[in-house]
Symmetry: C2
Subunit: 416 residues, 2 copies
């Protein structure tokens, strides 16, 4: 249909604008990006009434539509959340610039100097859930790292997102950012159009349900950073200290059941199986013993339990059924701990502590972009470093390769 | 058809075996991997007659089939090439272990220590051209970095590849590598089967023609590292020193025309256009002035030429038509050079030197896996570092997140 084609063009134009402005973003000094963040923080405070009133309309509609309680909670954007967001922006300004870091500086020959320097990735598409604060966080992370962002938020938060976007966009442009530094996509059909723009969008970060993330990974040539699911394991070894095992199991399962780093399967060595089961008999979660549960992400007070004959069996189980997110061994045997950590193919491999530590803030990154279960680029909790790539700069004085090929000149490699 | 289904199963089994052995590879100490490389080097020398005789049969068939001269040259595997390969393995042994490097070590709290440690990626599929030496190189790079490799070589080199594979596989297994450390795929249909194995294969490195690489990037969910094409530019600025410009243009275009880092388009500032054209009037390449050439990778003694009004126009042209590989500015104006390097979105951005320097050996990496024009994971010439990822190891004493959430304990971040 003609309307569909027009819409497709509209999204491509949007993505092209972001792409061409991403080159301008890449050239901005740290001061300009930090100044823009400062301006954004002030504007959010100045526009707070407008923001709360838009959020009020979203909340009203959500209640009228009888949306579930947890969604309404996430949707709420009050003075407390606004203050958190503004504080977050202040913290971000203080973080070291992720851009223009020298990763390598090497003399290839006299007067021929190679540098490997971090730079923004370019255009990042972020698709996020119904929390309006996610829009503020993601926009400010992208400004800090010099990237242009194309955002698609949850439709429940449409009015809040629109006002937040307008406020941030205006404040950023006033501070010297290019028009295309931030783009808001308001209809769901836009996502499928954007997924086709692999020449313009460099990276997609989907935050949302498992099936949604799978859909994006399958349907786009654009690289995706994120995780489809989190099937994390706690393995209680024969050499486990029960005083550590039981609290770590409970914390990994219940400290926040809806998180991707919550444990979903408990593997127990046969030597300690009975004592672990005895200690867990009053635990506030259901235990399931059937094989169908091994691939399930409950996100609830439920855990799969399996008895294993050895640490090796636990490692094999984890590599087969897990999602390469975060897995824990409880043992006092240091050698086994090392074998477990080398053998388990996951972003996080832990000894004697809760799987819930898998988080950018708990790792001390200061800001979290998300958690990646992919192995390339960024793995595990991703900080600002995950939003940059690098380029090689080579500065010469007219050198040509023919001289080195003929032996007239020789490379004199020296890191400087 | 039943045969097709069986074949599919056979490839999946092959990939599964590599996957499960990749966990064994990941646990091997540096000494075992280096010892295996040593053994492989010796075995190649010991089996040289068998290798040359297999290569002789490939050469005979190639000549009978009247394959083009350059292919026959690449196919040839004589004592000179064997010695180069064995020397390469010796050099590789001496390189620092890319695995188990500590990228970060941080105390999160007393007795809770986070480490970010490099580790092998897992299973790497490499599809390469007709040079039998590529098989030796790729296998040894994968052994050094602790990865399992699945190889598909050019069919012209089938007999050479089979003998080289048998020799390397036997020597590696004798030295303690798992059976699945190396797998050879001998029929082209196997490629499409392997592209479906995204749960088993972690990374594909295609080395070959543009259309072939495009096909793989489009048809597989497995991440791809490589480059589809290399449309590199030389921009001669108004402030260029002609004594540098002319040799750099000639070297970038002609030092090796078949390379991806050879220049395909020459952009010239209008102020110096006439003098550059005058200086190039006897240059050993054809100049084309039509727009259709801007997206073309000639790989020949041909170059597109365009007059531009400013450095900004050159940057826009490069970002629009280029392949984000390597682009050069010739200028004496340092400020312009910096703006060019920040504005051009390519893996390599050079000032006053030849685009042909874009190469792992010339960067002093000691070994080259390939060149990547993607922005994630590895960009530009890729050394052994491109064959590893990292994981986070967290070692505790029973710590749980609830204690930090409640304020009972506080994080004490300290890099150690």
């Amino acid at each position: 249909m003609c309307g569909g084609k027009e819409r497709e063009m509209e999204y491509r134009e949007m993505a092209r604008k972001a792409k061409s402005d991403s080159y301008k973003m890449a050239g901005l000094a740290e001061e300009v990006r930090n100044k823009a963040l400062e301006n954004i923080g002030k504007a959010l405070r100045a526009e707070s009434e407008k923001i709360f009133s838009a959020n009020g309309r979203d909340m009203e509609r959500a209640e009228k539509d009888s949306l579930p309680g947890p969604i309404i909670n996430r949707l709420k954007f009050d003075d407390h959340k606004l203050s958190d967001c503004i504080k977050g922006i202040g913290d971000l300004i203080k973080l070291t610039d992720p851009v223009s870091k020298t990763l390598l500086k090497r003399q290839l020959d006299e007067g021929l100097i190679l540098e490997k320097i971090t730079c923004p990735i370019g255009v990042i598409g972020v698709i996020f859930e119904s929390r309006p604060d996610a829009l503020v966080q993601i926009s400010s992370l992208c400004v800090k790292s010099g990237n242009c962002a194309i955002l698609k938020g949850g439709s429940e938060a449409a009015e809040s997102n629109r006002v937040l976007f307008d406020t941030i966009h205006k404040a950023g442009v006033e501070a010297g950012l290019p028009e295309g530094f931030l783009t808001l996509v308001e209809d769901r059909a836009g996502i499928d159009q954007l997924l086709k723009c692999h020449d313009e969008i460099d990276l997609i970060i989907p935050r949302g349900s498992n099936s949604f993330v799978q859909h994006i990974m399958n349907d786009s040539k654009i690289p995706v950073m994120g995780h489809a699911d989190g099937i994390c394991h706690v393995y209680v070894d024969s050499e486990a200290d029960m005083a550590k095992a039981i609290p770590v199991i409970k914390d990994s399962k219940t400290q926040y059941v809806a998180a991707c780093n919550a444990a979903e399967t408990l593997l127990i060595h046969e030597d300690v199986y009975d004592s672990v089961m005895e200690a867990l008999k009053d635990a506030p979660f259901e235990m399931r013993f059937d094989e169908e549960g091994y691939s399930q992400e409950y996100l609830d007070y439920i855990i799969s339990v399996k008895k294993v004959g050895s640490m090796e069996e636990a490692v094999d189980h984890i590599n087969h059924y897990g999602s390469h997110h975060t897995d824990v061994i409880i043992t006092e045997d240091e050698e086994k701990a090392e074998l477990f950590m080398d053998g388990v193919d996951s972003a996080g491999v832990y000894v004697n502590c809760s799987s819930r530590f898998a988080d950018g803030f708990r790792y001390g990154f200061g800001a979290e972009v998300g958690i990646s279960t992919g192995k390339l680029h960024a793995r595990g909790p991703v900080g600002l470093d995950g939003l940059v790539t690098y380029k090689y700069k080579l500065r010469g004085k007219g050198q040509i390769v023919a001289d080195y090929a003929s032996g007239k000149r020789e490379f004199k490699f020296k890191d400087i």
